[in-house]
């Protein structure tokens, strides 16, 4: 844990780019618990969750080098990547919806997130330290707003699917999501 505080995500990534497998191991030790927890929330099956977790690190090892991560946010990148990958796997396994064939292009375009370079990087340790602050911001949302956010993020439902499931107009879902996320951001920035 001491080391985790010393070496930043950016330093780890630059080592990974130089094929340093120890750096990858370091990153695994640091991130696997939160990624695994997120993946398991989306795909409850343990074996599938483990496979998805392995896939995340394979993508990171294979393609992480080609991305300019020094200016980006590794934490955000990994979380959204894990979420996208797990949702994709869940939909493919359930066969409820037809998805495009999983190809290299599909992975680059849809699964790997394009993270804005205009934001300051945030590290896992900081996120964990601000957990209560974020929880407070979340609790200020209405139950409906929280419900819609969870359906979208963890269940992998689109706005249209949420609308038909809740039997409400799609425009209502869209505005609910817009307002919910804007409020969450404002609540968090203002803090308690």
């Amino acid at each position: 844990m001491e080391d985790n505080k010393i070496i930043t995500d950016t330093q780890i990534m630059s080592k990974i780019k130089e094929n340093d497998s120890k750096a990858l191991e370091e990153l695994y030790d640091r991130y696997s618990p939160i990624l695994y927890t997120l993946i398991k929330k989306i795909v409850p099956d343990q074996t599938v969750a483990e496979e998805v977790l392995a896939d995340i690190f394979v993508i990171l090892w294979k393609k992480g080098k080609s991305f300019e991560l020094s200016n980006e946010n590794l934490y955000t990148w990994l979380i959204i990547l894990a979420r996208n990958k797990a949702v994709d796997r869940k939909i493919r396994d359930s066969k409820l919806k037809e998805l495009p064939e999983y190809s290299d292009d599909f992975e680059d375009e849809i699964i790997i997130p394009k993270i804005s370079k205009s934001i300051d990087p945030v590290e896992l340790s900081k996120v964990q330290a601000e957990k209560e602050k974020f929880e407070g911001a979340m609790n200020k949302l209405t139950e409906a707003q929280k419900y819609v956010i969870n359906m979208a993020f963890y269940d992998g439902k689109t706005q249209g699917e949420i609308a038909s499931e809740l039997n409400i107009p799609q425009t209502t879902v869209k505005s609910k999501i817009q307002v919910a996320l804007s409020n969450l951001k404002i609540n968090f920035v203002l803090g308690e």
């Binding site: 695994y28 804005s116 993020f153």
Partner: protein, 255 residues
Amino acid sequence: MSGLQVKDLLQAKALGCLDSEEEEIFIKCAKEDENFPWKEYGSYQKIVSRMPALLEIEIPDQEVKDKVSQTLYDLNEKLTSEEKSVKEDESDEGIIIEELEEGGDVESQEIPDLKEIGTEKKEMADSISFKKYKASEIPLPGFENLNKETFTKQTDKPKKKSPTNFTRKELKKKPVKNYSSKIPVGENHYGRNKNKLFLITAVTFLLITLLLVIFIYFKFSSDIESNKNEIKNLKQQIKSEVINSKLYSNNFCNA
């Protein structure tokens, strides 16, 4: 799509819940629109990524780590072997190019443009697209169709190193083999023609020699025959002259 509409999609995209049509519009805007609100989008990405921190953390088994490391080890092995095969392919191509360049007078006369391009062998090997110029299309041993245009076209293209070289390698591997396998065939063909020519020349030479010998034989034998006849005539002439002189001397004595 107006800026206002793209802004309406930011939150949904950050949550990953856009419908496919809106997803396409969003991707297009993010790629093409210079005024894309990256900062605002980033702030939503950042806030959404904090959500898993609220979950009860579950640590994966040690087995998962072993599995991940095994998967990565296998991947590395695969990549290394792929890289090796590409290097071998490239060196094969280099040898072929070298052979083409040092192919002697006949070859160098027919492919003068190879040297004019002035690129290094490796660069040349990289630039030749075997996908475009199939081995079967490469004429051997004449190389008549190899011209500057086709090679320049390839060298002018900007070299792009893809992070994953599989496709390139797979594309290269087979045609190179075909290409290299054609060269000895061409050489044999050229050698066979040479042998034929030599054989024809030898037979002609023998025939001419034989005719010459026959001609000389007949010529000499006729000469000998005529000489023999002449000798015979001369002998007879001498004989008759001797007889005549004898007769003459006898008559003289008797008289």
